[in-house]
Amino acid sequence: MAATPADASSSSSEAVVGGEKSNKMITLISSDGESFEATEEAAKMSVTIKHMIEDGCADDGIPLPNVPAKILSMVIEYCNKHAADADDTNKHVADPADADEDDDNNNNNASAGEKEDLKSFDASLVAVDQATLFDIILAANFLSIKGLLDLACQKVADDIKDKSVEEVREIFKIENDFTKEEEEAVRKENAWAFNE
């Protein structure tokens, strides 16, 4: 969703101090010409966008010709939610042996409750129709947002799991271009994976 802060930035870029999180807003333009704003922190979850910002190409907004508005807004939603958790420091919980230590949450970025919140957000983000799911995958791939790509791929995998070959073909509309003999031959090659 477009986030418009009170202090909307002008299009002039300011020098970003290395390592600090600026409140600068980045404009992202979808393939159908719609503009979205995101904090620099959230936008940088996309490695593609991160490089463009660092190369100074982000001044007048970043055009994303591959990403339609509907998908871009979902992507930005994801980035906004996950940006705060992206900080990698102290990802190791100090876990002394035979310690009764329950609280190391100063070092974790999200408490248990927040983690649950993120999980359910992620689940609802990818609970969409197949076409949208694939659009998200391609967008996440193009924008290099690993977390979102993995999330969407996991959803596809979940849809394939425990289904027979015929069922998978039906769900994903895969045309079986094997002849009966060809299919039998492939099955024989990998027989070890088929027998129960």
Binding site: P96, A97, A99, A131, D150, A157, K161, D162, I174, D177
Partner: protein
């Protein structure tokens, strides 16, 4: 159906199109990696485009759940033989023994140059890690259990290894020392439950996280970037048994922890505090741990040397925020209103001495909770304070 080879339907022209098959190979591989391996292999019969898709999947996870022995062996053999692409992650785990197959699996695996290897074959005698594993040049992540570590003579090191975890292993001082020092970018090191090691020499300039759990006699840490160190010395260890030598001039805290100028979290558990209290006790250590914020301690209060050693540590940690202390026996548990896991046993003046040391910290640097506990326990002991010999 036509007899000649069918052309694929154009992905864009039809309303209900097969977008799964037209995903870039890398993404297909990502999806396939998330399936059970056998299921991934079965996708080879979906259509002609899928025939070899699984052979490029980046992650291979071979878990021996309820397979029969022969079935699992076939699975591993076939996957390792047929897989063609780069293996980003490989993991194999089983409760059964595969000692006859292990060597050939390692050979096949090492030929694929995986980036990450996890081996958890926890049943039976320890598996000697073949020398071919030590020649996997691009290895970034290595996790081994139930194994014997013996480096080949021509070991070049793992130039890209950032994570190393060895659990339930046997080796020698030399082997472990070399393994670690030949991994120049090692960031995380975990060594738990080992045999055959007396002296742990850890030279790791980029190390940030260290966890050691086992029996050893001595430890030397040359890890100037270490941020978290959790050290557990077993109770059976020789270091625990030996009587402190009168003429032992070395200060063990200095020797083991002295170089850790960046340390942020320090866990001293098991009998490690006893080890640290050997030798001379210095109140002023050569290095001040300015970044040290958390200390977890196992300590025997009735051992005066340990109390003093702990004190010298606190004195050199000016920015300490959090201290958690455990004793193994809780004689008089604190009243239920105290919820934090901090138990102090009061029996001798030395505990009171300890409390006084704690009290010397300005309460503003403490967690609110900690301060409350301290106040409470100090109150309880106020009477005794008057008569204790400080």
């Amino acid at each position: 159906m036509s007899t000649c080879k069918k052309t694929r339907a154009e992905a864009t022209s039809v309303v209900s199109s097969d977008r799964l098959s037209s995903l870039p190979p890398k993404i297909k591989g990502n999806v396939l990696s998330r399936l059970d391996v056998r299921e991934a292999v079965r996708t080879s019969t979906l259509s002609s485009t899928w025939r070899d898709a699984w052979t490029n999947m980046p992650k291979i996870s071979l878990r021996d759940g309820n397979f029969t022995r022969t079935r699992f062996v076939t699975l591993v053999d076939m996957v390792l033989a047929l897989h063609m692409g780069t293996i980003e992650e490989f993991d194999i785990s089983s409760e059964k023994s595969y000692h006859d197959e292990f060597a050939r699996w390692m050979l096949m695996l090492s030929r694929r140059s995986p980036r990450s290897v996890t081996i958890k074959l926890n049943s039976g005698p320890r598996y000697k890690i073949s020398s071919c594993v030590f020649s996997i040049g691009d290895l970034k992540f290595l996790q081994l259990e139930n194994c014997i570590i013996s480096l080949p003579r021509a070991f070049q090191g793992f130039k890209s290894l950032t994570y190393l975890s060895l659990n339930n292993f046997s080796s020698t001082d030399r082997n472990i020392q070399n393994l670690i020092s030949f991994c120049p970018v090692l960031k995380d090191l975990i060594l738990t439950t080992f045999e055959g090691i007396n002296q742990l020499n850890i030279q790791a300039p980029k190390l940030e996280y260290l966890r050691v759990y086992g029996d050893f006699e001595d430890i030397n840490l040359e890890a100037p970037n270490l941020k978290v160190a959790i050290l557990y010395l077993g109770h059976q260890a020789k270091a625990y048994q030996s009587v402190p030598i009168v003429h032992d001039k070395e200060n063990h805290i200095k020797k083991s922890l002295g170089g850790l100028s960046e340390i942020k979290i320090l866990g001293i558990t098991g009998s490690f505090m006893k080890y640290l209290s050997k030798g001379r006790i210095l109140t002023k250590l050569p290095s001040v741990f300015t970044r040290l914020e958390n200390i977890y301690l196992n300590i025997c209060f009735w051992d005066r040397r340990q109390v003093f050693a702990a004190y010298s540590l606190f004195q050199n940690a000016p920015n300490l925020k959090k201290l958690a202390v455990w004793v193994r026996m809780v004689v008089n548990p604190l009243p239920p209103s105290i919820t934090h896991s901090m138990f102090l046993v009061f029996a001798t003046p030395y505990e009171l001495l300890f409390l006084l040391f704690l009290q010397s910290y300005p309460s503003s640097t403490w967690d609110q909770c900690q301060a409350r506990i301290l106040e409470h326990t100090l109150q309880m002991q106020m009477d005794h304070l008057v008569t204790a010999s400080v």
